[in-house]
Structures are given as C-alpha cells and as structure tokens.
C-alpha cells in the first residue's frame, strides 16, 4: 500500500512540470491571439471557356456569400478558412441574339490557408511577410439543358498549394487600417471533370453521374491543372475589436483533360469580421 501511495504521490518533478504547464497555458491565454468570424457578401464575375460545354466563352455576375474563420497569433501565424458559395446564370456573349446559350452555375469553394511569418524577406516598418501552405477545394457545376445528355458540366479539384502573403497597416485619421495581400499557387491536385464526350452511360443501370465523375478523377501536377489565386483585403477597425472588410480576389484555373477548361473570376466582397 505504501508503495502504491509513493507512486501516486506527486513527486517534486511532477509538481514542477505541472506548474510549468499551467504557466505556459496562462501565458498562451494572455498572448495576442485573435479569432474573427467573417461574414461576407458580394459579386463574382466569372468567365469560362469549357470545350466540354461550348466553343465560346460563358460569363456572368454571380452573387456570392462567404463564411470564414480567420485566426492570428502574435502576428506570427495566420490561418484562414473560407467557404464562398455562388449561384447564378452565366451566358454566352451572344445571349441576346441566341437566348438558348445560357447555363446555371453553382460554385462552392473551401479554402484553408496556414501561414507563418518569414524571416527570408525583411519586414518593412509597416508590415510583415508570411509563407505557408494551403488547401483549396472547389466544385463548379454548370447546367445546360440544351446539351441534352451532356447537360451537366463540372470541375471538382482539391489542391495542395504554397501561399505567400504580406500584411501591413497604415493610419487613416484616427483609425489604423490593415491591408493584406496573398497569392496561392497549387502544386499538386486531385480532381475530376468530364471526359471526351461529357456523357455517362445512361443505358447502364449500374452507372450514374457520380460514378462517371469518380472514374475520371486523377492526380494532376501544375502542368495538367493550373490555378492561381490573388487576394487583396482592406480591413477597417470598428468597435470591440471587430472589423469591416473589403476584398478583391482574382482567380484563374485551367485543366487539361481531354476537353480543356479555362476559367477566370474577379470577386469583390464586403465583409464583417466579428471577434469570437
């Protein structure tokens, strides 16, 4: 029994370790760690040229809603999680002449960015540089009933990317505004889009669109799936450490499957960042 008590009784080393852990936790709790919940809305102008869909470009303004969580720890580590959702009609340039040339477009993105302050580039007086990795997934579905069995055209890619950012601030009257600029460049992706005919075997009771999409999925390097994302944000502080934001994001992607797709978008978003 004594032996057991001796083992269970807190040794000086155990007590010291516990004290260190508690101190660290307290320090961490008091460190400059901020988390913002971002609610944004705006518009995205899309242009898409998809050989599986049409020989001409389709374009349109898509209302966009975005939800996100942004974390910053002591100005050394930044993480972003964003989920923009878009839905609208896109049309060809000659839509007024040929009203059948339209498509319903739905797009969902999930972007996770993890950045650490870098010492590779010297900080400026007003800002700091960050480097890191990011994970980007998007599902872009276009529905063109005029194409009959080939009506559903889609792109779904998940990419591992490198990201770099610059975060700085400047004084405007009594407020200190933050500006943030990020570029993300996917290196390795896994994704799917329609193949040569964009039609699955409708005469096969054991086949459907999801199985067809799964069959066409493949790993892509930068050569077969290229994407670039540029984001610029300006944040204006309001009460209670909350912020108002305006951001502009430009994206371009191209996938060289049997039928090539090229898409570009400009998104202008207004957001409210609430401290949580």
């Amino acid at each position: 029994m004594k032996k057991i008590n001796r083992i269970l009784a807190p040794s000086p080393w155990f007590r010291f370790s516990l004290w260190v852990l508690l101190c660290l936790h307290a320090v961490q709790a008091r460190s400059q760690k901020t988390t913002h919940l971002e609610l944004g809305s705006g518009f995205t102008y899309h242009q898409i040229k998809d050989d599986a869909m049409s020989p001409v470009r389709y374009k349109g303004w898509l209302p966009t809603l975005s939800f996100g969580v942004l974390k910053e720890k002591q100005g050394k580590r930044l993480t972003e999680l964003r989920l923009p959702i878009q839905y609208a009609l896109i049309t060809s340039g000659d839509f007024k002449k040929y009203p059948t040339m339209k498509a319903n477009m739905f797009r969902l993105d999930i972007d996770y960015v993890y950045l650490r302050k870098t010492t590779l580039i010297k900080d400026t007086l007003k800002g700091a540089f960050f480097l890191g990795a990011s994970l980007h997934t998007f599902l872009d579905v276009r529905y063109l009933p005029q194409l009959d069995n080939s009506a559903i055209v889609y792109d779904n890619f998940t990419s591992l990317a490198i990201s770099a950012a610059y975060k700085g601030s400047f004084q405007l009257k009594r407020k200190r505004l933050t500006h943030y600029h990020r570029v993300s460049l996917p290196l390795l992706s896994y994704g799917t889009r329609p193949d040569y005919l964009n039609v699955y075997d409708v005469t096969n009771p054991e086949d459907d669109l999801f199985r067809y999409a799964q069959r066409n999925a493949r790993m892509c390097s930068f050569g077969s799936f290229g994407r670039i994302m540029l984001r610029n944000s300006l944040l204006y502080p309001i009460r209670g450490n909350n912020q108002l934001g305006i951001s502009y994001e430009w994206q371009y992607y191209t996938a060289s499957f049997t039928e090539q797709v090229k898409g570009a978008s400009h998104a202008l978003m207004f957001s409210l960042l609430v401290t949580i």
């Binding site: 869909m53 049409s54 009203p99 009959d148 069995n149 040569y196 039609v199 409708v202 400009h266």
Partner: protein, 330 residues
C-alpha cells in the same frame, strides 16, 4: 514609383485573362458549318458501321455555305448534311426549328392502331402513372407509350399485385420512341431473378472514327425487395420503337423474353450534345452497343416471332400482334 509599379503589376495579373483564355471564334456561317462538321467528325460513332464517307459529305455541302445565307438557310443546309448519317439520334436545334431523320419508321408498316386497342382490347383499363394496364383474357397487359414518363415503385407494386393471378404478362411498347432507359429497367428488375448481362457498350474516346474505349458489359440486378412478377412475359415491338425502347427490346432479348411484332427502329448509340457559336445545338450518337452475340443494336432488334398487323384483321378489329402474343400463354 514603387507603389505605381505594384499597382500596375496587380493590374496586369488581374485584368488580362484574355491572355489566358482565347477569344470566341467568329460566328460566321462558314465557321459554324466547319465546327459542326468537325464536331461530328470527332464524336459521331457510326461512320464505319454505316460506311459513311464524311469527307465526301463535306465536299458536297461545304460549297453551299457562304456568309450571306440567312440563319434559316444555314440551318437547312446543315440539316441536310446531318440527314446523310441516317440516324434518328442526330438532330440540330436552332431555337426555332429541330431537324429530324424519321426514315427509320416511315418506310415500314405502323403495326399498331391505338383506337383499335381502346375499342377492342383495353376494356376498362387502368392508368397507373404512365402505364396503361388491363387484363386481356387471363393475361396481364401493360402499355408503356414513352420511357420519358417516369414510373414509381408504387405504380409497379399496384400493377403486379393486380396481375398476381394472371397467366402471364404482355408488355406493349409499340411506338415508344424512347426516353430514360432507367424507367424501363424498373420493370425488368422485378422480372429477373439473378444479375444478368444485357449488352456491351463502348463510347468514343478520341477524334479518329474508330477511337473507342474498350467495350464494357452492362448488367441488370434483380429487385428482390418489392412486388415481383415471375410468370411468362412477352414484349410487343414495332418499327417505331427507338432509342430507350430499342435498348429495352435488346435487354429483353438478352434476358430470354420473347419479342413479338416487327423489328425495332434502332437508335443504338447513347446521344451526346454540343453547341455551336451561333446558338445551334446538335445531338449525335456517341457510343456503339452490341448484343451479347455481337449484333449491333443500331440496326434495330429483330423479334423472335415476326408478325405484321394484317389489314384484313385490322378492319375486323383484330390486332394480329396481340393475338399472336396471347397464343404464347395457351
């Protein structure tokens, strides 16, 4: 200066996707005609099977195209070119008109008379979803006029429960021009007792006329959960059975179900669709389907018992094809 450079760089990156995305092709008649010809050249699946020289078709029709043609005139020439493919699955849509090829049934006897069916065979028929159903003598009868109209599990539960004391079942798909093949499988799943191969299918996968993926076998799995029908079944066909109805007839053939009537009209390739810069849309066969014995389904499915409706019978109110089918249950 630095700031201006940064702004300029940003502008160059963000506002010049024209560098990355090529401009639209000109929408002139010649461009549209060439794109249509090329799209079919790359994707249509029956050039070799039908022995069509698509290059010579181009040399016949291309000289008729010039940029002064009206939209309707362009449509007319394009439709004429497409009719050389002799394929009901090939059609051009302009928004104002749809081209069609209908010789797959026009040159053959109709072999069905709906008024005669209503007056002399259907009696007090039930309409269950898209299925007209009745009992003729001791035999259950279903008439499915189009596979475009979806059937539900409840529809089939009702009909097969109604037919539980019958001697067998006649499925009449005469003049069914197709629709969604998945609707037809819902019936067959209740009839078969084990997973069976229906046909083989290969899609085009490259621009050459013989560029196809390897053939894959298409199977049907039985539905053992819902109300089933396990007695003898026969299927009635005519030349106006096309596309999904052709696939249905082919499936029945592979499953050992007796086909009675006339050969089906064909439509043995899954249609795909494409768009032209001038807003025309074209559908075309994009696959080849073979029965398990290698027979190309584009030619139509040959019945096991060939019967035409005799005119003398028709004037007496007799449907020769149904009468022959009823003999199968005696």
């Amino acid at each position: 200066m630095k700031k201006i450079l940064v702004v300029l760089l940003l502008f160059v990156f963000t506002a010049c996707e024209d560098v990355f995305i090529e401009k639209d092709p000109p929408s002139g008649n010649v461009t549209n005609f060439d794109l249509l010809w090329k799209e079919l050249d790359r994707k249509y699946s029956f050039f070799e099977y039908k022995r069509i020289n698509w290059d010579s078709v181009y040399t016949v029709y291309r000289p008729q195209i010039h940029n002064n043609l009206s939209r309707e005139e362009l449509f007319e020439v394009m439709a004429q070119m497409l009719s050389t493919l002799r394929d009901g699955h090939v059609n051009l849509r302009s928004g104002d008109n749809i081209s069609k090829y209908e010789n797959w049934f026009l040159d053959y006897p109709a072999n069905v008379d709906r008024e005669l069916l209503i007056r002399h065979y259907w009696g007090d028929y039930h309409i269950t979803g898209p299925l007209i159903n009745t009992i003729i003598g001791e035999v259950g009868y279903i008439h499915y006029s189009s596979f475009r109209n979806p059937i539900s599990a409840d529809n089939l539960d009702y009909i097969f429960t109604r037919f539980k004391d019958t001697e067998g079942l006649i499925i009449d798909i005469r003049s069914n021009e197709g629709g969604n093949p998945k609707n037809s499988f819902k019936i067959l799943e209740r009839i078969i007792s084990e997973r069976k191969m229906l046909y083989k299918q290969a899609f085009k996968n490259g621009p050459g006329h013989q560029d196809f993926e390897p053939f894959h076998e298409v199977y049907l799995t039985p539905d053992l959960e819902n109300v089933r029908f396990e007695k003898k079944v026969v299927v009635l066909t005519n030349r106006r059975c096309y596309s999904a109805a052709n696939y249905f007839a082919a499936s029945c053939k592979a499953l050992g179900i007796t086909l009675i009537g006339d050969q089906t009209g064909g439509g043995g390739g899954v249609p795909a669709g494409s768009e032209l810069p001038n807003g025309f849309h074209v559908n075309y066969s994009a696959s080849v389907s073979l029965l398990p014995d290698g027979y190309n389904m584009e030619a139509g499915i040959v019945p096991d018992i060939a019967v035409n409706m005799a005119e003398a019978d028709r004037t007496k109110g007799i449907d020769s094809i149904i009468e022959r089918a009823l003999l199968e249950f005696k």
